[in-house]
Every structure is written in structure tokens, then in C-alpha cells.
């Protein structure tokens, strides 16, 4: 398996390449426009891999995604969970769907909360073992922190859940769906450090493990959803600049020129 994490420092964002060198194919997860489509195309080409799928954990609000363009340039699907309320077409998947490159399985784990369509991706390298090795947790679970529930655009049809519901769902999702994974599973999130998508306890470290977050993630030590929601609110950072505009672009509601440089 080839597994690469790309860090975009200006927005503390992490994207991923997951591939199989024998099959010569790879998936890209959460590509960011700040790095650009060419960046991913060349990284994959340098590794002798064809990009056969572009996946997103959710529709992003703090950065401009280049998933649509990247998928089009590679003639491959742009995947999002079937709940994603975009205006443009994408290839939908459901909880439990498995996508494969060579010996690598990527299982879709529907983990709503931060957003209503949020999905984590469980990675299993069958050339080594049948057990999962890592999980890409998007903005659900961070190293040391959790995704914030208050990035709403103000349209019920698009937001689906309000802040309170998102927080409660997030708490249940992490406990019931992520913390029930084997302890050794590595956690690779979509943000780190100073990113505004999580609270003040977010670590700058690349990755963690289910075991470590279960034990030491402060928000998740709270006894119930209400206490969790309060803690998240108390430890929140300022809202990302222009998040409504960025989210609108990523949803397909506005064109790129309306962004005027936001989210890159």
C-alpha cells in the first residue's frame, strides 16, 4: 500500500493519497485547491499511479475543494455520501460501501455530526492483514479534539441539523462508530493544529490512534452529549473567515469568482 498525507500549512489541512503499487491505482481524499489539481496529478504520476477515484469526507466550509476538477481531469468519479446536498452531480455511496485499489480496501463509515453527510474512511491493507490499519476521520475526530458543530449556512435544507443536533450526533458517532474500532487503528484527520475547524485542544501531530483518543481526547471524556456540547462551545476557536461563502462554493451554490480569494 502507498499511503501519503499532504499537509497544506496555510489552512492546517491534510489530504491523502491511498494506492496500490501493483495495481498502479490510487484514491485521493479531500484534495484542497490551495495545493491545486496539478499537485495531486503529479504526486500520483511520480508514484506511477492513476487516480481512479476522488473522495471527500464531507462538503467543506473552511477551504475551497478541488475535488470536482480533479475528478474531471482524471476521468474518474467524485465520491460523496448520498446525503451530501450539493447542487452538482457526484457519485454517491452509502454507509458500508467498500472501494478497492489492488490489495487496499477503503470502507465508507458514515459518521455524521460535524455535517449531515460526513463520512470517515477505514483503510485495510489486505497484503498485510485483514484487520483495518487506519481511519481517515475528516472533521469528525481530530488529534486531541473534535470537529465543531456550528458551521451552518442558515438554510435548513442544506444544514439539515442545527448546532445542538450536530453536537449530540457527533458525540454519539464518535463513541459508537469510531471508538468501537480496534484500539490500534490509526487516526488521520482532515485538520490539525491551528485549524479553526476544531477547538483549542487540537494537536499539530499528523496522526493518533483510537486507543489514545478514547483515553485522552478531552471532549470525549465528557459523560454525556450535553456536557460534550458545552465543552465544545467553551473551547471553540473563532469561526473560519468566509465560511458561509466557501461552503456555498463547495455546495455548488456560487461560482468561483464570488469567492474572491477566500478559502485558499
Amino acid at each position: 500500500m502507498i499511503f501519503k498525507q499532504f499537509r497544506y500549512e496555510p489552512l492546517n489541512q491534510a489530504s491523502y493519497l491511498v494506492g496500490c503499487p501493483k495495481a498502479k491505482e490510487a484514491f485521493i481524499i479531500d484534495p484542497i485547491a490551495g495545493l491545486g489539481d496539478d499537485f495531486y496529478i503529479l504526486e500520483a504520476a511520480d508514484l506511477g499511479l492513476a487516480i481512479v477515484g476522488v473522495f471527500e469526507t464531507h462538503v467543506h466550509a473552511d477551504y475551497v475543494s478541488c475535488a470536482r476538477e480533479l475528478a474531471e481531469m482524471n476521468g474518474c468519479p467524485h465520491y460523496l455520501h448520498e446525503n451530501a446536498p450539493t447542487t452538482y452531480e457526484y457519485t454517491p455511496f452509502k454507509d458500508g460501501d467498500v472501494f478497492t485499489v489492488g490489495k487496499v480496501d477503503m470502507t465508507c463509515l458514515f459518521t455524521p455530526g460535524h455535517t449531515p453527510e460526513h463520512t470517515s474512511y477505514l483503510i485495510t491493507d489486505k497484503s498485510r492483514a485483514e484487520e483495518p490499519w487506519a481511519v481517515l476521520t475528516g472533521d469528525c475526530l481530530f488529534v486531541g479534539d473534535v470537529g465543531r458543530p456550528d458551521l451552518l449556512v442558515g438554510d435548513q435544507a442544506l444544514d439539515v441539523m442545527d448546532e445542538g443536533e450536530r453536537a449530540r450526533t457527533q458525540f454519539a458517532t464518535i463513541n459508537d462508530l469510531l471508538f468501537t474500532l480496534p484500539d490500534h487503528v490509526e487516526v488521520y484527520p482532515n485538520h490539525y493544529g491551528g485549524s479553526l475547524c476544531g477547538g483549542v485542544n487540537m494537536s499539530g501531530k499528523n496522526s493518533s490512534t483510537i486507543y489514545y483518543e478514547k483515553k485522552y481526547n478531552l471532549a470525549m471524556q465528557k459523560p454525556d452529549a450535553a456536557a460534550f456540547a458545552q465543552f465544545v462551545q467553551d473551547t471553540a476557536k473563532p469561526l473560519p473567515d468566509d465560511y458561509e461563502k466557501i461552503k456555498s462554493y463547495n455546495l455548488g451554490l456560487v461560482e468561483k469568482d464570488e469567492l474572491q480569494g477566500a478559502g485558499v
Binding site: P21, D46, L47, G48
Partner: protein, 82 residues
Amino acid sequence: MAEYQENQLLDARGLLCPMPIVKAGKVMRGMEDGEILKIIATDRGSIVDFPAWCEDTGNELLEWHEGDDGLVFFIKKVEEED
């Protein structure tokens, strides 16, 4: 599997056949007799390329294996007696 302590490391990952050998040749020229060069390569052809290169140059292929990062070769420099 024995692990050798290398004197130099050549990261040949991403290089395409036969460039790992071409680069190894350059690095070896700057090494002393008896020193060990560790090479990590991702090109599959390296599996037959390096043994052949060792026979041609007289260098000794100590060991190779498939690691997480790529194919790992430990080669000891053997100065040719003229």
C-alpha cells in the same frame, strides 16, 4: 533477517528502471572499499537489476528484502583488483 548498518543511504524510490542502478553507481564511486550502501527502490525491475549489477561490478549483495517503503538492498563495496 539480518539488518546491516549502512555507511550511506540512497533513496531511489520513484526512480524508474534502470536509474536506481545508475545512481547507485555514482554513489558507490564516492565510497570506500568495504563500506555498505543501503538502497531503497520502488521499481520492481530492481529485483533482477541489482544482482546483475553486483556481479558486473564485483560489489557484494549482502541482502535484500521487500520493506514497507519499497525494496531494500544492502550492497558492500568491493574494490576491483586490476
